[in-house]
Subunit: 495 residues, 2 copies
C-alpha cells in the first residue's frame, strides 16, 4: 500500500526551524508525495531578506529618515510640499496638529486663477499623475494629461494632483511622526473622512495658489468620492465636477470586501497593531508584507471583471500535466499573486488600512454631516480649553460586542437623508461616469447619484456598457477613449 | 499641540509579550488616542486557550483518538461508516489505499431498491442532513426531508447522505491517518476531483446497499457539481438528477475568490504547511483558527447578496457616537466576523483547502475526462508494478513561475470541449435550479448547463428572481418554498 516510500519533501524544506518541524511530522513514508509550497518559501525568504536589511526594503528607506519614520514618499521624487502649522480638526473628533500635503502641478495658472483643475486620486495613487521634468517616470494617468491632450490639455489648464492625507507618498499619514513625541503615528493616527481629505486639499488650493474657485474637481473611485465631497463642502469654490466610478455612499457589499482586506492584513503577525516601523528598541521589525500582499489580492478581485478573466485566463492551469497544488496554479491565481506581490512593498500597510476604512465611511448624508460638524467643533473646543486630560477616552472599550443586529433606519429614510445632504451640489455642472462591468462601484450607484440630484439638467451621465469596457473598476486607468474623451468634452471651454 | 498626554492604550495591552512590545513603541504621549483592537485580543486569547488544551478545542478531540488524528467527525455522532479496503485511484494521479465514507440514511429501501435518493453536500456539510434517533440535532436540510415532506418524503424515499471524501466529518480526508505511517495525511493527502468523490459514493451505494440505480441524485452548490458528475460518470446508474446553484465548470471569478480564501488560510503561522495536527513531538500545535476564520469571512461575502445586506444592515455602524475603528464596526462587519468565528473551530482547515481546490478544478469537459482517465490508469499500473521508487516526483518544483500568461484555447473551443464532455447526461431527467441573486454561481452558469445539453426536453429549468430570493448562493439552505417545492414536484412518482 505504500506507494511512495521515498520522501518527496522538497529540497528547500530543511532551511529553517519551521521547515524542520514540518519535516519532522512528515515522515519518510507516505502513500502520495507531499505537496510543495514554493509560494510560501518565497514569502519566508522575503521576510528574511527584510529582516537582514534591518526592517527596511528597497522602497522603504527608514534608516535615512529622521525619527525612524519610513519614507515611502522618497521613492516618488519630484513632488512639492504644502505645509500647514494650523491644526486640522477632523470629522471623527481627531486632530492633525500640523500636516503636509505632497502635490505636483502641470501647466500654468492663468492671471485670474480660473483655469485650475484639481485631480483627486484613488486609494493607492501618489501625486504623480503625469511625468514632469522633476520626475520623468510615467504617471498613473500619463496618457490623460499633457500639452494638447484631449482630456486635460496643460496648454490650457493648470492641473494639480495631491497625495491624499492618510497616504504614504509625501502627505501626512500613519507613517508620519506624531508631533507629540516624534514617533510614527501608526494606529494613533486619527480616523479621516473623505471630507477631511478635501478640506486639506482646499487649504492648499487657497493658501498655496490663491485660487478662490477651481475650474474643475476631477476624480475616479475614491477620487470620485472626493470630487463630490468638494462640491458638497465648497459649492462656491468649484465650477465643474467630474466623478467617475464612485458613489454617494458606500454599499455594504463594498464594505464587506474591504473589511476582508483589512482583517487579513491585521492578522499578519508582523503588523503588530500598526507599530511595525523599526525603532531603536525594535530595529528588526519588518513590514507585514504577506498581509499587504493578500489584502491587495482580494482588492484586485474587485478591480477587474469576470468576463475579462474568462477571455484572458479561462480556467487554464499553468501546467495541466502536473497534479494541482495549493500555491498559485490556475492562470487567474498567478495573476492575482503577481498583483499582490508587486504592491506589497510599495505601500504603507497602515495607510491602506486607514484609507480603506475612509472609503467605507464615505456618506454624503445630512445626518452624517451634522454629526461631523459637531465632532469637529468639539475637537476644536477641547484644544482651546486644553482640558482633555479629564476627558474620558472616546474609544469604545468593546466595540466588538455586536448588540445591534439590524439597521435601525429604513432604506427610504436613509435615502432621503442622503438626498438632503447632497442639496449643495444641485445646480453644479456635473459629469457622472459609470461602467457596467464594475462590480465594486456598480453602475446603479452612479445612476443613484443622478437620481438623488433630481436628474438636474446640468448633469451629464455617461455609462459604459460591456462592449465599451470589460475592465471593471479599473476602466478609468485604461480607457482613454471613453473616460478620457467624456471628461475632455465636458471640460471644454474658452480659456 | 499635545492633545492627549495621557496614554489611552487599553487595559489589555500589558497582558503578553507582543502587547508589551506594542506599548513600548506607543509612548505615553500622542496627539490622538491610540486605537484599540478587541478583535485581535480575542483571537490571541483563543490561541492561548487552545495551547493550554494541548492543541485541541472542543470540537477537535485529538487526544482521545488513535494516531493523534483529530476527529472532527466525533462531534457529529450517529453516522455509519462504509469502509473500503480496495484502493481508490484518483483523477490527478494519487491514490487512497483504503478509505471510509460516513453516511446517514432516512426512510427504507424498497424491495427492488428503486427508491433511493442520494444527497450530495456542499463543501462544509456533514452527512447529517436531517435529525434521526441516532442524532437528534437538527440537520442542515432539516425542513426539507421527513415523513410526508413535500420535498423528500421519507415514507416514499430511501434517502442517503454522505460526508464527502476529503471532508472531516467521518470520511477519509487530510486529517485521517495515512496507512503508510499512520500519521495524519495533512498535505500528503492526494488532490481529489468531484468525480473522485462521486466514485467513492457510488461504491457505497452499490456495495453497501446493492443499489444498481439511484432514483435520484440531488445536490446544491458543490453537491450540484457532484450530481452532474454522477450523471456524467454513471448515466445508467441514476434515474433523475437535480442540480441547484451549481455549474458545469468553475469560472475564474469563483476561483479568484476561493484562491483568496486559501492563501489567507495558508498564511496563518499556525497552519505549518498543513502539519498543524498535534503529535507526540509537537503536542502544542494549534489549529490555524485565525486563518480559518478569515477564509470563512471571505467565503461568506460570496454566499449572500448585496441587496440582502442593504436591507438588513445598510451602512450603519454599531455605535455612531464613537470614532470608527479597524476592528468590526459596521453591522455588516460584525456579521462577517461572527460567521467566521462560528466556523473557525468547526471544520478542518486542510479539508477546507482541498475541497475548495476541488471545486475550482470542477470541469465536465471531454479533455478533462480524458486526462483523468489516463492518470487514474497510470496510478493503478504504478501500484501493480510497484516500481514507484524509480518514478520521478510528479510535482513541479517551481509551479510558481508563471510563464504562461494567457489562455491557450479559445472560449469557443473550451465550450465545445465542455459540450462534448456532457453528452452522457443528455436524455437524463434533469432539474436545474438557479438563483438570480447568487453571485458565486451566477444564474448564467445554470442557463449554460441547459444550453450545453442542447435545451433537452427532459430538462426542467427553474430560475428564482430577486422577488423570490435575495439570499444569494445560500438560497438552497433556506428556501423551502421555491427550492424545496421545485425539487419535490420534480421527484414526484408512484412508489
Amino acid at each position: 500500500m505504500n506507494l511512495f516510500s521515498r520522501s518527496v519533501l522538497g529540497k528547500r524544506i530543511f532551511k529553517n526551524g519551521m521547515h524542520k518541524a514540518v519535516a519532522l511530522q512528515a515522515s519518510s513514508k507516505s502513500s502520495n508525495p507531499a505537496m510543495q509550497f514554493p509560494c510560501l518559501d518565497k514569502m519566508e525568504e522575503l521576510s528574511e531578506q527584510l529582516r537582514n536589511k534591518h526592517g527596511t526594503c528597497s522602497s522603504v528607506d527608514a534608516t535615512s529618515s529622521p525619527n525612524n519614520e519610513p519614507n515611502y514618499g522618497k521613492v516618488r521624487s519630484g513632488f512639492k510640499l504644502y505645509k500647514s502649522n494650523q491644526p486640522l480638526f477632523l470629522d471623527y473628533g481627531g486632530v492633525l496638529p500640523k500636516f503636509q500635503i505632497a502635490y505636483e502641478t502641470w501647466g500654468n495658472l492663468n492671471k485670474d486663477a480660473s483655469n485650475a483643475v484639481l485631480i483627486h486620486t484613488g486609494l493607492s495613487a501618489s501625486s504623480h499623475a503625469k511625468s514632469s521634468p522633476d520626475n520623468s517616470q510615467p504617471g498613473w494617468w500619463e496618457q490623460f494629461i499633457g500639452p494638447g491632450n484631449a482630456m486635460l490639455d496643460t496648454n490650457r489648464f493648470f492641473v494639480i494632483c495631491t497625495n491624499v492625507l492618510g497616504g504614504c507618498y509625501g502627505s501626512t499619514g500613519p507613517s508620519s511622526p506624531d508631533p507629540a513625541d516624534n514617533l510614527p503615528y501608526a494606529t494613533r493616527f486619527p480616523m479621516l473622512s473623505v471630507q477631511d481629505i478635501i478640506r486639506g486639499q482646499q487649504r492648499l488650493v487657497k493658501e498655496q495658489f490663491c485660487i478662490e474657485k477651481l475650474y474643475a474637481s476631477v476624480g475616479c473611485s475614491m477620487g470620485g468620492m472626493q470630487s463630490l465631497a468638494y462640491a458638497q463642502q465648497f459649492p462656491q469654490a468649484v465650477e465643474k465636477v467630474v466623478t467617475v466610478s464612485a458613489c454617494a455612499r458606500s454599499h455594504p457589499s463594498s464594505i464587506a470586501m474591504r473589511h476582508a482586506q483589512r482583517q487579513v492584513l491585521m492578522a499578519d503577525q508582523h503588523w503588530k497593531r500598526g507599530f511595525y516601523y523599526p525603532s531603536d528598541e525594535e530595529p528588526n521589525r519588518i513590514l507585514p508584507h504577506v498581509g499587504m500582499k493578500l489584502a491587495r489580492e482580494i482588492a484586485t478581485v474587485t478591480y477587474r471583471s469576470g468576463p475579462e478573466w474568462e477571455s484572458r485566463f479561462g480556467t487554464e492551469r499553468l501546467n495541466e500535466d502536473i497534479p494541482p497544488v495549493l500555491c498559485p496554479d490556475f492562470l487567474i491565481e498567478t495573476y492575482l499573486d503577481h498583483q499582490g506581490e508587486k504592491f506589497s512593498l510599495e505601500y504603507d500597510p497602515n495607510s491602506f488600512l486607514y484609507l480603506s476604512k475612509t472609503m467605507d465611511l464615505f456618506d454624503l448624508s445630512q445626518s452624517h454631516q451634522d454629526r461631523s460638524n459637531r465632532r469637529r467643533a468639539e475637537a476644536q473646543r477641547a484644544l482651546e480649553k486644553s482640558d482633555v486630560e479629564d476627558k474620558p477616552p472616546r474609544l469604545c472599550d468593546e466595540p466588538y460586542e455586536a448588540t445591534k443586529k439590524r439597521r435601525t433606519t429604513t432604506v427610504e429614510e436613509a435615502r432621503e437623508d442622503l438626498r438632503k445632504g447632497m442639496e449643495p451640489i444641485i445646480g453644479k455642472e456635473l459629469l457622472v461616469v459609470g461602467v457596467k462591468s464594475d462590480g465594486l462601484f456598480p453602475y446603479w450607484q452612479q445612476r443613484e447619484i443622478v437620481d438623488l440630484l433630481g436628474g438636474d439638467k446640468n448633469i451629464e451621465h455617461v455609462e459604459l456598457d460591456e462592449s465599451q469596457s470589460l475592465f471593471g473598476h479599473d476602466t478609468f486607468l485604461l480607457d482613454l477613449e471613453h473616460v478620457g474623451g467624456s471628461i475632455g468634452r465636458f471640460l471644454k471651454n474658452d480659456f
